[in-house]
Amino acid sequence: MKCGLIVSIVSIVLLLAGFTQADQPPAVTAALQSTLRVEKKDGTLCSSALLVSEDGYTLTKASEVRKTEDHRFVLPDGSLTPVREVERDSQLDLLLLRCEKTTGLKAAHLEESKSLSMGQWLLSPRDGGREIRAGVVSAKRRSIPSAGSAIGIQMDLGKLDKGVRIKAIIPDSPAEAAGLQPNDVVLSIAGEPIDKNQGVRDLIGRRSPGDEVEILYRREGRESKCLVRVASRAHIESYLSDDDYANGGVSLRADRFHDVLQHDVPLGPADMGSVLMNLQGQAIGINIARADRVTTFALPTEAFWPQVKKWIEKDRAAR
C-alpha cells in the first residue's frame, strides 16, 4: 500500500503540504481533522485541542490554558470558534470546552489502548494540526508522582527583619515573567507573611502547577504586588540543566498523573492536547505532557474518557 509518508530528518514528519486528500493514510486524515489550534491573543500557539464529539465538545491541557477567555480557538480553515468552558479538572489536567462551530473538524473516535505494546508506531499532530509526526511506545505504562512546584527564585539565606531577599531569578521562569528581580524582598505569598526561606518553599510547593499566587515584595523601599504562575519543579529545573536540551521546552506540568503512556513522537509543549493515534487511525489517547528531551506522556483513553463522557452527558442534560 502506497501512502506517501515523508521521512524527514527529525524522526518522521508527515507534512500536510504536498498531499492530496486521497493520498493521505486514514490515520493522518483522522488525526488532522480532530485538531484545533489554541492560540494566545497575539497568535502564538500555546496548546492543541481535540474534538471528542460531533456536537462540539473539545479537550485541551488545562495547565497551559489557564484562562479560557485569554485564548482563541482556531479551526482548520483559519476561522475562530467561540467556546464555553464546561469542566476544568486539575487531577487529569484536562479542560473540557464546547465549541460553537466545528467547521472542517471531525470528532476522534476514542478506543481502548490496552493492546498497545512497546515499539508500536503512533501518530500525533504537530503545530496545531499543520503536520503529523510519528514515534513509538517507548517505555512502560505507569503513574507519574509529583515532582513538586516552584516559581524559579533562589532565596538569600541571610536574616532580614522582615521577608526574604531574592538572590537570583532563573531565566525564563514564572518569577522572571512576573517581573521579579534579584534583591527584591518577598514579604508575603498569597497573603501569608514570609520570614524564612523554608516558608517560601512550603507556600509555593503546596500549589499546583498552573495556579497563580499573589506575591507582595519590596524593591528600593517601595512595596508592590505581582501575580506569579506556579510551574512544576521539574519544569524549572529543566532551565538549570545545561546539558539536556529539551528542544522547544517542557510542559508547565508533567507530573501527578495516575496512568500515562510514554512515547517518542517528537512534539513540543504546544502540541499537548492533541490526539495520539495508532497506524489504523484509532485514537488511543491524548498527549498531556512533554517532560524532557526524550519523554512525552499521553493519557490513555481509559484514564480520562469515562470521566469526560460523564461531564459531557451532564452538560447536555443541563442545556
Binding site: R142, D244, L279
Partner: protein
C-alpha cells in the same frame, strides 16, 4: 533535569552549533525525499518488536557516585561496551544494574579518549550473561537505515524500565554515527541497534537539535577489541584511508579541537605542532570535534598539502604540512 546526577552525552556550546550548522544541515538534506509506505513502517515495527525482549536483557544501567549512565553486555562472560566519558579510567569499579534489577560490580577495562569507546567486564565467573552481538559489517548502517536505541535516560527507573527510540541513521562518520534517535543524560554508553538486533553504536554526544544524536560506532571497538578488553588506553591517530597527519585529538570542554598527542616522526611533529594546542581550521574550514577532523584528513590523499590554523601559547599561527601515508605499525 537530571544533569547533576547523570552522565550526559556531552553537549556542545550554543555558539558552536552556529559554527557547525552548515555541516549538519547539509548532511541531513539528502534524506528528505525518502518516502516509506505504511507497509515499511509495519515491517520496521515487527522487526524492532521481535528483537526487543532479547536485546533489552543485555542492557545495563551504570551507577556510581558521579551519576548514572548505560551500557550493553556483548559476551557470555560479561564484557560490556560503554562510553569513555562513563568509565574514565581503566581499573575503576562501577556498579551495574541489570535489566531484571539485580546489581553487580564491573571493572573498567580499556578506553579510547578520541572516539569515546570503552569496555568494562562484570566481575565473577559467570559464563552465561544475557548478551548481544556487535555488528561486524557497518557498511549497511548508511544514511537512511532504520535503527533503534535503548538506554536509561535520567538514570534507572524500575517503574519505567528501559526507554526505546526508533529512528534512522542520518550520517556515518569515520568513528561515529549520527541518528535521530533522541538521547539525553543517562543514555551515555547505551546501545544503538540495527534491525537485526546487533549493536552498531554506543550513545556518546548530543547537540541541540533532535536529529543531532551522535553514537560511537562499533568500528573503533572492533579495531581495538583485544586492546580494549586488556585495559589498554587506545590511541586513534588522526588518519584515514588517504593521508596521515599523526595527531590524536579530542573535543575539549570548551568545545574546541584539542591535541592530545603528536606521533613521533609524523608530519604534524615535523611541522612543530605541540600537545595541548588547539586546531581551529583545516584549509580554512572550521573544525571543532574529532570526527570532523578525522574526516577532513582522511578525505585528502597522502602527499597533499593542508593548512592548519593552530592556536598555541604564543597565539595563533598557520601551519602548512604535507600528509604522509599511515605507517605500517602505528606509533
Amino acid at each position: 533535569m537530571f544533569g547533576a546526577h547523570s552522565w550526559s552525552p556531552s553537549a556542545s556550546h550554543s555558539a558552536l552549533w552556529v559554527v557547525l550548522s552548515a555541516f549538519w544541515v547539509s548532511s541531513a538534506n539528502g534524506l528528505e525525499s525518502q518516502t516509506p509506505d505504511l507497509g515499511e513502517l509495519l515491517k520496521v515495527q515487527a522487526q524492532v518488536q521481535s528483537q526487543l525482549s532479547h536485546v533489552s536483557r543485555a542492557l545495563v544501567s551504570v551507577e556510581s557516585d558521579d551519576g548514572a549512565a548505560s551500557g550493553v553486555i556483548v559476551s557470555p562472560d560479561g564484557l560490556v561496551m560503554t562510553a569513555e566519558h562513563v568509565t574514565n579510567q581503566p581499573g575503576r569499579k562501577l556498579k551495574l544494574r541489570l535489566a531484571d534489577g539485580r546489581q553487580v560490580t564491573a571493572k573498567a577495562l580499556g578506553l579510547d579518549r578520541t572516539t569515546d569507546a570503552a569496555m568494562m567486564r562484570i566481575e565473577g565467573d559467570k559464563k552465561n550473561w544475557p548478551h548481544v552481538e556487535p555488528c561486524r559489517d557497518l557498511r549497511e548502517a548508511r544514511a537512511g537505515t532504520w535503527c533503534f536505541a535503548l538506554g536509561h535516560p535520567g538514570g534507572y527507573d524500575a517503574k519505567r524500565g528501559a526507554v526505546l527510540r526508533v529512528g534512522k541513521v542520518i550520517k556515518q562518520m569515520a568513528n561515529g554515527l549520527q541518528t535521530d534517535c533522541i538521547l539525553m543524560g543517562g543514555d551515555s554508553g547505551g546501545p544503538l541497534f540495527n534491525l537485526e538486533g546487533e549493536v552498531i553504536g554506543i550513545h556518546s554526544q548530543i547537540w541541540a537539535g533532535r536529529d543531532q544524536n551522535v553514537h560511537v560506532s562499533v568500528a573503533p571497538f572492533l579495531r581495538a577489541w583485544d586492546a580494549l578488553s586488556k585495559s589498554s588506553v587506545v590511541r586513534s591517530w588522526g588518519s584515514g584511508v588517504g593521508g596521515w597527519v599523526g595527531l590524536m585529538t579530542r573535543r575539549s570542554k570548551q568545545g574546541e579541537l584539542e591535541i592530545l598527542e603528536v606521533a613521533p616522526d609524523s608530519p604534524a611533529e615535523k611541522a612543530g605542532i605541540k600537545k595541548g594546542e588547539i586546531i581551529l581550521t583545516v584549509d580554512e574550514e572550521k573544525v571543532s570535534d574529532q570526527p570532523q577532523f578525522s574526516e577532513a584528513i582522511s578525505s585528502r590523499p597522502s602527499g597533499s598539502v593542508v593548512a592548519l590554523q593552530v592556536r598555541g601559547k604564543s597565539g595563533e599561527r598557520r601551519v602548512t604540512l604535507k600528509l604522509s601515508t599511515r605507517p605500517e605499525v602505528e606509533p
